[in-house]
């Protein structure tokens, strides 16, 4: 058993020695790099981007410092798209318009709609009603003046 193993190691050593001698005699031509470089230039010239799509594709497929796998890239894109959607669409729909309604125990009520745009808020609708049985009154402010103020006072 031991002899057989030794025989095998000997054969392995002989094969390695044989190949080592082959390796010494198998040297590539010295002009490999110049040839390779000109082929590389040719390839780069062929794939030179002519439009934005080509440039983007080259950037995606080309070598980079940190390799990003395709699946990780897709997940990242989905996360960014999701965040953008949440911070633009939803906030605009939910947060930009506010309706306020108030009714007093004396039968006086008013309602108003407020719209937020950027850092400013505007009153877009205002209704005041006196339902005490005597008068019904609707106040329509001057909407062209965005800085208007409304004073409401009650008297019995």
């Amino acid at each position: 058993m031991k002899d057989e193993k030794n025989n095998f190691t000997n054969i392995e050593r002989k094969v390695q020695k044989f190949f080592q001698k082959q390796a010494d005699s198998l040297k590539v031509n010295k002009d490999l790099w110049p040839k390779l470089e000109s082929r590389l230039d040719e390839k780069l010239k062929d794939t030179e981007p002519h439009n934005t799509k080509g440039r983007l594709w080259q950037w995606l497929a080309g070598p980079r410092l940190i390799a990003i796998s395709a699946s990780v890239g897709v997940v990242l894109i989905m996360i960014v798209a999701g965040l953008l959607w949440l911070t633009t669409n939803n906030s605009a729909n939910i947060m930009n318009n506010v309706s306020i309604q108030w009714t007093s125990k004396y039968g006086v009520s008013f309602s108003c709609d407020v719209e937020a745009s950027g850092l400013n808020s505007y009153v877009t609708n205002f209704e005041f009603q006196n339902n005490s049985g005597k008068d019904t009154e609707t106040i329509a402010p001057d909407w062209s003046d965005k800085t208007n103020t409304i004073d409401i006072s009650f008297s019995q």
């Binding site: 044989f18 390796a23 198998l26 040297k27 490999l32 790099w33 390779l36 080309g62 070598p63 390799a67």
Partner: protein, 183 residues
Amino acid sequence: MIEQEAVLTEAEIIRRFQAGDREAFRTLVEKYQNVLYGTAYLMIGNRMVAEDQVQEAFLSAWKGIGSFRTGCPLKPWLIRTLVNKVLSYRRANSKTIISLDTELVADPVAVDPVEDIELSDQLQRVLQNLPEEQRQVVLLRYFTGLSLAETSAAVGRRQGTVKSQIHRALEQLKNLIEHDKRQ
């Protein structure tokens, strides 16, 4: 500048290569061109075709270095790229390949002692008569110097299969040498 290049580790050269540095690429080409060429030549048996396949493999490496995992050894990755190129070439040109034996006889290995010449002849004969798959793994293991795992990754076969193929090849070689001794 040259001194700076000399002290750069392979990992640093690979990092530069990944960033698109052509000089770093050249350094790696010059380091591995002979082992790639030898492997290609022993697989194909034609110097011009072997050199062409080496160039193809390096061009693929330039294109695909972005997918190379930093920290892994580069040589097995390059050899795998080369083996894929050579196998594709062989599939496409199966009828026009010059056999390995004619080329090897034309370029005999320089050896000194008579015993070595005999052994060399025996080995050459056995290697040429090995089945293609066995010859590939013996070549990658003992000429290219890949480990079993690297050889198995390079040829796309299971490690156990590669191990038994190498074992069978060495067994044949041993039998032939013993047979020659008896005669």
